[in-house]
Symmetry: C2
Subunit: 325 residues, 2 copies
């Protein structure tokens, strides 16, 4: 089964493999009308299906690209991936999505495996611990695009959001509404978006002439987050607003709020920095900072595609503005 090869087709049609190959690559100028017909008939008769693996080996292109996502549980990642898939679908390029799970080792392994599989390029949501690896790829001229997180001092394509500025605007907005005690909930400050969002928070407070209370900056892994929030809310100066630095933090905060039976909108204002699906169905008055995930994915895909095509890229760094809703 499934063993009919180009040689079989050639024999059946009474021509050489080369001609069949030409046919498959639609270079019809190189053959006469009747041979073309014969080949068509032979393919039909034998039910021949070309083997792309063999072709890839020769052509050194696989028509596959890889995405290495820092953590697939973020809705943002899936939106970006979807955009990338949609884009590459136009070119019959398949996409392999890998979830690094915020683990640099896993990330490295994936990068190596995908490259061993000869994917034509990589889109990476980078962790912060494989700089040398990124660098070697870039230096080598291997097509890569980085998304969501900054990779310092690397002359590579990247697509990110204006984390600091968006957060700044959001916090300013809260301050204008009269909030003075604003908590900032975030996972450990290991990657650039979190750091940049905190920068925006601090800058806003400073510009508004408010002092920065370190107690209000709740930095913890998800499992400990609720507990830390509990501590903060048991203290004297309860916050009147919380900024959740991403989707996962948001979920933890929401659980916390439900447990404590805090009334959103009345007692507490909440802002999240991330795209949350179905958020418009929630009745609670929550504000969101949403990234233009689809556009970012599309841009990343374009940048990768151009690299694969060997074009050189004029503008490598793209910063997309987020929007407060």
């Amino acid at each position: 089964m499934e063993k009919v090869t180009m040689a079989d087709v050639a024999k059946e049609a009474g021509v050489s493999k080369s001609t069949v190959s030409q046919f498959l690559n639609k270079r019809y100028e190189y053959m006469g009308e009747k041979t073309r017909r014969k080949i068509e008939a032979a393919i039909e008769k034998l039910g021949y299906q070309p083997n792309y693996i063999a072709r890839s080996l020769k052509q050194k292109r696989t028509s596959m690209v890889g995405i290495i996502v820092a953590n697939i549980v973020h809705h943002f990642s899936t939106e970006v991936s979807r955009a990338i898939e949609d884009f590459f679908h136009m070119y019959d390029v398949h996409v392999i999505v890998c979830n690094a799970d915020d683990d640099p080792k896993k990330e490295k392994r994936y990068i190596e495996m995908l490259r061993a599989k000869q994917v034509d390029g990589l889109i990476i949501f980078p962790s912060e611990h494989n700089h040398e690896l990124y660098e070697s790829m870039v230096k080598e001229g291997y097509p890569v695009v980085f998304v969501d997180r900054k990779v310092e001092s690397l002359d590579a394509c990247s697509v990110i959001t204006d984390n600091t500025e968006s957060t700044y605007r959001a916090i300013m907005n809260l301050i204008e509404k009269g909030h003075r005690n604003i908590a900032f909930a975030v996972q450990p400050l290991t990657v650039s978006p979190r750091i940049d969002r905190l920068k925006g928070y601090k800058k806003a407070l400073k510009d508004a002439g408010l002092e920065i209370n370190p107690d209000y900056i709740v930095e913890a892994d998800i499992p400990e987050l609720k507990w830390k929030l509990g501590q903060l809310f048991s203290s004297a100066k309860k916050p009147t607003a919380i900024f959740a630095a991403n989707e996962r933090v948001f979920l933890a905060v929401m659980e916390f709020i439900k447990e404590r039976e805090i009334k959103l909108g009345k007692e507490m204002e909440l802002i999240v920095f991330d795209n949350i699906p179905f958020v418009h169905l929630l009745e609670a008055p929550i504000s969101y900072i949403i990234h233009p995930a689809y556009e970012m994915g599309k841009k990343a895909a374009e940048l990768l595609y151009e690299q694969i095509q060997g074009e050189d890229i004029a503008e490598k760094k793209f910063i997309f503005p987020s929007r407060l809703v």
Copy 2:
């Protein structure tokens, strides 16, 4: 760049390609201690990375499988896909996810492309129009597993939910609560889950001795759904409960409810048949029938893996029970 091949390693180490190959495949018994060292050193020195494409060509295995999803916008699909990816990750098998977008032509093209790429197997959320294709694959002995939708009269592996029974229970539950006018909102009845869910609905009404009012069965594509619901709600006997047959219908219904400012829980009860992310954050009293998506994906992956390994499968059809929450 990146052109260092096995031959280079062999030359560097002063051995033959064969030995290097043995080394790479960890068949150390076939070589002496010192040669092993030399090869290790040579690989290290040259920064050799094996080319899996070449290996795949010879071995006729690619360590890749494909998933063809009917429609990626369903959260259920992504959950199942995730489970499949998690499973295959254990075996270093990569997964390519393709979105057929409910279009049989697209589905067919994907199946052919993935097979041309020599993926080792396929997990398919089948549309209802490629029976011959499915059949030929199954007959050929090519590893396939069907998910979510039934493929009649095909002796192939499949993993589905008990659509009829779960719907029956949910509707019965509504009836027990006193509802008599229950609407059933659904997309066109083209695929088995929708048909089976409707069956459950009808059976429940019949068993409860209620008559089936065809006006309450709102069958329409998503764009027309709101409009049709509007018609129904303008009529004399407004329903007091709605059963949304899947996630997309649910979204349309929710929009409708919001626009009409209908109060969920008081004026109207709502049940959805699908996994909705973040549903626990909604305050509205909605019931859900959730599929054990992760388990289903895992089972599908297992079934596929066993087929790929050439084992024969004792039990091919799996029906997972859904749960009303």
